[in-house]
Amino acid sequence: MTILLKNGRILDPSTGRDETGSVVIKDDQIAAVGENAACENPDEVYDCTGYWICPGLVDPHVHLREPGEEHKETIVSGTQAAAAGGFTNVCCMPNTKPALDNPALIDFLLDRAASPEAGGVFVAPVGALTKGMGGQHLTDLAALKRAGIVAASDEGFPIQNARVMKQAMEFCFQLDLPIMAHCEDQSLAEGGCMNEGGVSALLGLRGIPRTAEEIAVMRSCLLSLNTGCRVHIMRVSTWGSVEIIRLMKSLGAPITCEISPMHFSFTEEAVGEFDTRFKVSPPLRTQADIDLLLQALSDGTIDCIASDHSPHAAHEVDVPFASAPFGASTLEAVVGAALTHLTHTGVLTPLQTIDKLSSTPAEILHLDAGTLAVGETPVAQATVIDPNFEWTFDRRKMSSKSRNTPFDGCAFRGKALLTFCGGEIYRDADFPEEERYKSAEMV
């Protein structure tokens, strides 16, 4: 079967390609890319005039909630949401119930992700660093690696003991596994539910001081520098964290970091009247932080964007603010938020935007993804984006099982309309089929 993506703006950060052209997918593989790419008798033709053709997007940080919390999301619904968001590859976090701390669970996860009802995207598992996420005893990391993890993490249960983390890094260095670090000092953060500042004082809510994140970021960077272990710092939210990362990178620490769309779209003011849709960890900060986070995106200090997709069921979030769980269901809003707040505002060029959404996360996690180059990926992965499409995010139209999203009602400019992983796995309702899609049968 041959698919032709015709006449779009090809944005491939892995090769630096930014030109008008076409992409040919033949028998699930990228067969040709570029100005002169063409094919005879394609089975399907998508007219991509005015659209971007990008490598399939890669999300390094999602919570699929299965096993154990299937009322929030399942591997099937989560991967469907990923495809709807333009992603062909997601890294799923280990803080499930039970945690992904043994190879059998990794096998289970990969099995489910490959099932026909699932979204058709690749799921790269991230293993637990410690048994049961207890922060004490290391898991059998070599066995987990053989089972298929691409990284290890303490997500959701940040390791508080520096010695445990140092030893974890020593093992991961040896196994060439990056650690995705949840940077939070719990002695400072515990009991807090939003940024410690003017709004928490106003609402009478216990705050989480920024130092809770920054102290832990500094620790992770120093240990990374010391052990040589690659460390990816998840969810930076403060200007202090960015300064620390910039400094430590300049000293040679093998660190990378990510930002979630929540943290560049909203400040703590968005909490408003105790709106639990804006309860995230780390918490939303101030405009001063956003200004410096945007700068850090521009200058490359922040390497990539991650959704931190954290679905929660409706009855779990309709509670008083301090009791509500942290996190939002964000997979389907990432592209809209990134294009609206980063590309169209000039913080990032289109190529840089796609780099942060695809090529760089793929590189950090050593995934066979994030590129449109021929022969580089086991299966063709491409996302077609209309960068100028204006739409309003509507939570009622989400594919995710959970609708806890702060982006409901947000006006976006830019939407992922088509997702290809092998063949087409997602076609958005806003893709104008009549004018732009032709299949061989129709002719």
């Binding site: 410690e196 004082a201 106003l202 609402l203 009478g204 809510l205 309709d318 008083p320 603010f321 301090a322």
Partner: protein, 314 residues
């Protein structure tokens, strides 16, 4: 038509004025034995998820004066102990036909959630560290009686402001009325940021009391402090007790207030608590009238800004 009373922060100075007028009028009527307007046939749920005798009894008294039937819910016997969510509990009360709800809850923002689902007037009787509107109304009433005005007064709120809903509600009411509010306390017990709660912060008691007209001492909330915010109550008392010596720094006719219950010898000494400057007993009395005003204002929203108070019992 009805309305909720959730936070002084949300209210206009006009509404606050109406409530204070109502409260003063009710006080006068009760003293002279004139008939009070009756909210006949209406039922009021008193949902107290936190221990409270004084506030609950105060609301019961207020409800009784206005002819409201009350139904009491104590936290210990609540269905929420069986795992029911707050939302479902509120909906149950709604469908059981309660007309109004008074709610006290440990978590800030709970009354706002309750108002979303209850479908009738909700009165906040204290939510976490957020607000305690009827306390502030009663306190303002007391200040007005003793000082004749609110505007232009200097008020020092001393103690654990960070965890205090009384401090916040009073800050809002007094600021909206044109008073100057100061927070006085150790750094660990004052809000980290005053960008949204714009009061001058003082860590030194004597500077904080300099020239003030009113001192409000807050209860040292032992149950709300976890780990290390203070070394000992003795140290706190040495630094922040409002007593005879400290009062010399305030104006000579300074008013001393405390929302209760009082930790004698810690927040106030006997001179401050029992002397002529103290308005504590008046605060307790006025609490009932402030709550009557709150209930009436909430149930009778259709009567517009100036509520007709001369209404005979039906």
């Amino acid at each position: 038509m009805t309305r909720s009373l959730l936070a002084i922060r949300h209210m206009s100075i006009d509404d606050i004025g109406t409530l204070l007028d109502l409260a003063a009028d009710f006080k006068r009527k009760v003293a002279t034995g004139e008939p009070l307007p009756q909210l006949t046939g209406k039922s009021l749920g008193l949902m107290f998820f936190e221990d409270s005798t004084r506030t609950r009894v105060s609301f019961e008294q207020a409800a009784s004066h206005l002819g409201l039937r009350t139904a009491n819910f104590a936290a210990s016997s609540s269905s929420m102990n069986k795992g029911e969510t707050l939302k479902d509990t509120i909906l149950t009360l709604r469908y059981e036909g309660l007309n109004g709800l008074v709610i006290r809850h440990r978590e800030s923002g709970s009354p706002i959630l309750a108002a979303k689902f209850f479908g009738g007037p909700v009165i906040n009787a204290g939510d976490g560290a957020h607000e305690h509107p009827t306390q502030a109304l009663g306190d303002a009433m007391t200040i007005l009686e003793r000082k004749g005005r609110l505007s232009g007064l200097k008020v020092a709120i001393v103690g654990d402001v960070e965890h205090s809903r009384v401090a916040r509600s009073n800050y809002w009411l007094l600021s909206k009325a044109g008073a100057e509010v100061r927070f006085v306390g150790p750094r660990t017990l004052l809000p980290e940021s005053t960008s949204h709660l714009r009061a001058m912060a003082y860590n030194d008691l004597l500077s904080g009391l300099d020239g003030v007209d009113v001192v409000m001492a807050l209860r040292l909330q032992k149950e709300r402090m976890t780990g290390g915010l203070l070394s000992s109550t003795q140290e706190y008392a040495k630094l922040y007790q409002v007593g005879k010596e400290a009062m010399r720094y305030a104006k000579s006719d300074v008013l001393v207030m405390h929302p209760g219950p009082l930790n004698r010898g810690i927040e106030l000494d006997d001179f401050a608590a029992d002397g002529d400057a103290s308005a504590i007993t008046t605060q307790v009395q006025n609490g009932v009238f402030a709550r009557m005003a709150a209930l009436y204002w909430a149930f009778r929203a259709d009567e517009g800004a100036k509520v007709k108070v001369a209404e005979a019992a039906s």
